[in-house]
């Protein structure tokens, strides 16, 4: 693949997002630099998974777990290892334990939270160790940011990694372009960790925009997409998180942020990098700004991404990929 020096100043960014703990997707992300010939890797928010899958040892020596809503019996350690690999790749956190431990955890949400914490940390540290030699060998810059689904300790782990640079809440220079980043989103029905009002989000973003020397050539790496675009369409949910139907049909709505849209329209940065809405895979233009949401298919082990070619601070092309 051509490197930047061979391409008359052109370079490329590979951006993927919402990998939600998927081992295989993260490994593909690290491999993307070499595969696509990208000079910079940016991992968008929601890096952590949502589900622990206990694999409970039974009295007869077998293991009981569940997959796709069904109970699954695993007869041997080999089957357990295969199951663990499969669920790791789907973004789950499999955990072998005794049936007694499972029953105890089942009744104690606090302990479940502790378990999540330890498994998420272990997964992230494993990823960092995986990435370290590979990124060093390729000489590729790798950035990451959390999303609204990620706990705050994720920032600490990424920040101290020394391998992947944490972008959250900062303005960072990237080959003459500045990139501002936040994983915070406007309010969602799930009341996740990094949510705030539109006003608060606007203030957060404005405080970073003020630091930009040249907003028109900047990259706005904002997890939540701008409202009312192809990037933010999803079904409307009721208070029980069930899709709202009218006349027997699901009601679709925009889940993006009005503040993000307003600020993009006002400052017209070169590029907007977004995620959050997995179904919202696509490219949208807001004035001169190219906004992209590669979407996510992490549970299938497919890494949705976008390959962005940049030259002289202008976006030459955005290509969506499904690796």
């Amino acid at each position: 693949m051509l490197r930047r020096k061979d391409r008359g100043g052109e370079y490329s960014i590979f951006f993927a997002t919402d990998v939600h703990g998927s081992n295989v997707c993260f490994k593909k992300f690290i491999g993307a630099a070499k595969f696509y010939g990208a000079d910079v890797l940016i991992l968008g928010g929601d890096v952590t998974g949502k589900m622990v899958v206990p694999i409970a040892r039974q009295a007869d020596g077998s293991y009981l777990t569940s997959f796709a809503g069904r109970e699954v019996q695993l007869a041997s350690d080999e089957e357990v290892a295969t199951f663990e690999r499969r669920t790791n790749d789907m973004g789950f956190y499999p955990k072998v334990m005794s049936e007694e431990e499972f029953q105890e955890l089942w009744q104690q949400p606090d302990k479940q939270e502790e378990l999540f914490h330890s498994l998420i940390m272990a997964r992230l540290e494993e990823w960092i160790e995986y990435a370290r030699p590979r990124l060093a060998a390729q000489g590729v810059k790798c950035f990451a940011a959390p999303g609204n689904d990620d706990s705050f300790f994720v920032d600490e782990i990424l920040a101290r990694s020394g391998t992947i640079e944490l972008l959250e809440g900062r303005v960072v220079e990237l080959d003459g372009m500045e990139i501002l980043t936040t994983g915070w989103s406007n309010e969602t029905p799930w009341k996740t960790e990094r949510e705030c009002s539109e006003d608060e989000l606007r203030q957060t973003l404005l405080s970073m925009i003020e630091q930009l020397a040249e907003p028109r050539s900047a990259i706005f790496n904002i997890h939540v997409p701008p409202r009312g675009t192809v990037l933010d369409q999803c079904p409307e949910l009721d208070e029980e998180l069930r899709p709202v139907h009218k006349g027997g049909n699901p009601v679709m709505m925009s889940a993006g942020s009005t503040s993000v849209r307003e600020l993009i329209e006002t400052y017209q940065p070169a590029l907007g990098l977004h995620g959050h809405i997995h179904e919202g895979r696509g490219i949208a233009r807001l004035g001169r700004t190219v906004c992209v949401n590669p979407g996510s298919n992490y549970s299938e082990g497919v890494l949705n991404g976008s390959l962005i070619r940049i030259k002289s601070k202008e976006i030459k092309d955005v290509q969506l990929t499904q690796g």
């Binding site: 595969f35 589900m51 777990t65 689904d149 899709p243 679709m252 092309d317 290509q319």
Partner: protein, 537 residues
């Protein structure tokens, strides 16, 4: 004790919610079978052109074959639950140029069938209805308008094009309006079908004969006992009622298989189905079984009320132009049942039901290509502008417009030329499906990394992955019906022109892919990257 779904721990996080319910999928699929159009095909072409063919056996054969195809597609869509149909399956399992070629061939075929449906909306839906109303009210102006103007070339072209334009406008205005319209039309179709079946149940043979003689006596030139005269005239012209013939029955099965393919169309919306395994099973299998049952009941009732000899004779005379021995317009079940009921209101209700079934085909056959066009554009093998989605309606208007333009072109060719053998395009689409099903046989072995994440990955049949078995059966069924059509010169056949169309379509699609590949290369874009899987060290 924890249940299966409880044996996991979840944390507070946002979730991907998919939209289409099981009912939506069922309506989507059974609507695309178009029970009314299938009934029309079978009851018109069957007795008239497939002498010796049994409608009952042919329909069951087609149902069994389509179940095999449906099961194969079901395993694909459960394993890769994404919208876009065979394009997504193909790009995950085969050479991208081939995947694009198959997708192109498939979607243009379905677009053709959208136009086919629109043409039949005019010829088998609206024109016979207006004609029947003219006959029942003894209004020769209305009767003539229906029989001559609406069923004529220009009438057909204008009605069919109008239907496509309305369908495209509904799609362009938003998916919510589209689903709402489909549900309204589905309700009308079901009500019309109930009225149709109810009328047939309430009519005796003598009721029908009396009404037919009274209404058609002056219009046909077959003597005073018009009903019997129709049979006599057709017999004189070559129609006969031979004994059961397997070869004609198998050939006749094409006409049941064609609409049944629609039952698997929910593979194109796999990414939008909430419980994909359950929803798709209900939609695909329910669509096939439900349609076959309704058809079989309808055949039994039609034969009881009208008589198989009469139906064979009247359709034969119409198809072969036996002077003065058939109805003024195509003797579609709506027309005949309406005449039998001798009621304008019932005739209109029944006709509306059939029009509803035919309508269900039209916008969805535009929608299917539209989704593929957007997917191609996102993958850069099609012009970027075709992937643009309108911000207000969130619909891909350029792709809809392109599909509409293609559809109207097909309508024009169907109305004004004899270029297309009736269902020639089904052959190319079936071939595309058969190849994708064949790829599915090997998919669990070639892509275990993807297959093992499928909810069906642990299901084995005779020690083989269920996907391998289902796709093998589906591929066999699809290839068998491909050859069945290939050797049925009435439906599709293999005339030189047909073969040229088929081969040309595949080659053309392949060439388009490479043209786009080179164009993108010149723009510095490597389209291969859109499909290739990143290797994991």
């Amino acid at each position: 004790m924890a249940t299966a779904s409880d044996r996991v721990f979840l944390r507070k996080a946002s979730g991907l919610i998919k939209t289409a319910s099981n009912t939506d999928v069922f309506i989507y699929d059974i609507g695309l079978v178009s029970i009314g159009l299938g009934l029309g095909f079978l009851l018109f072409f069957g007795p008239a052109a497939y002498l010796g063919g049994s409608l009952f056996v042919a329909t069951i054969l087609a149902g069994v074959a389509m179940l095999a195809v449906g099961l194969g597609m079901l395993t694909w869509t459960i394993t890769i639950p994404r919208s876009g149909g065979i394009y997504n399956f193909g790009t995950r399992s085969m050479w991208p140029p081939l995947a694009f070629t198959l997708s192109f061939v498939e979607v243009t075929a379905w677009l053709f069938y959208g136009s086919f449906g629109a043409v039949y909306l005019a010829q088998l839906g609206i024109a016979p209805t207006v004609t029947a109303v003219g006959i029942l009210t003894d209004n020769s102006g209305v009767e003539s308008f229906g029989a001559n103007q609406l069923a004529g070339r220009w009438g057909t072209f204008l009605i069919a094009s109008g239907a496509l334009i309305i369908g495209a406008v509904i799609l362009a205005s938003g998916m919510r309006r589209f689903f709402f319209t489909q549900k309204v039309m589905f309700t009308i179709a079901v009500l019309g079908t109930l009225a149709f079946l109810g009328t047939l149940i309430s009519l005796s043979r003598s009721d029908f004969t009396g009404a037919f003689n009274s209404l058609m006596g002056d219009r046909l030139d077959v003597g005073s006992d018009t009903y019997q005269g129709v049979i006599t005239a057709a017999s004189g012209a070559g129609w006969h009622d031979p004994s059961f013939d397997w070869s004609r029955t198998i050939a006749l099965a094409n006409w049941a298989f064609l609409p049944l393919i629609g039952a698997a169309f929910s593979i194109s919306i796999g990414g939008e189905i909430k419980q994909v395994a359950k929803g798709q099973t209900i939609g695909i299998i329910g669509g096939i079984v439900g349609s076959v049952i309704i058809w079989l009941i309808s055949f039994a009732l039609i034969f009881r009320t009208m008589g198989s000899d009469f139906l064979g004779a009247v359709t034969y005379s119409n198809l072969n132009g036996v002077e003065g021995a058939s109805t003024p317009v195509t003797p579609f079940p709506t027309l005949l049942t309406g005449l039998g009921a001798n009621s304008v209101a019932l005739t209109i209700l029944i006709a509306l039901g059939f029009i509803g079934w035919i309508w269900l085909w039209i916008p969805t056959q535009i929608l299917y290509p539209t989704r593929a066009i957007v997917a191609w554009s996102l993958d850069r093998v099609w012009p970027d502008v075709m992937g643009k989605v309108n911000e207000r309606t969130h619909t891909p208007i350029p792709a809809i417009a392109l599909s509409l333009a293609g559809g109207i072109t097909f309508v024009g060719m169907l109305a004004f030329t004899s270029f297309f053998q009736l269902v020639i395009f089904i052959e190319v689409a079936l071939l595309a499906w058969a190849i994708v099903l064949l790829a599915g046989v090997f998919f669990p072995y070639r892509r275990p990394d993807i297959y093992e994440k499928s909810p069906i990955s642990r299901i084995k049949v005779a020690g083989l992955p269920v996907m391998t078995v289902a796709c093998a059966l589906g591929a066999i069924a699809a290839f068998l019906f491909f050859f069945n059509l290939f050797f049925d010169s009435f439906a599709a056949g293999h005339a030189r022109k047909s073969l040229e169309v088929m081969i040309g379509w595949f080659v053309g699609a392949f060439v388009i892919y490479w043209i786009m590949w080179f164009v993108r290369r010149r723009q510095g874009i490597n389209v291969d990257l859109a499909f290739k899987e990143i290797p994991v060290e």
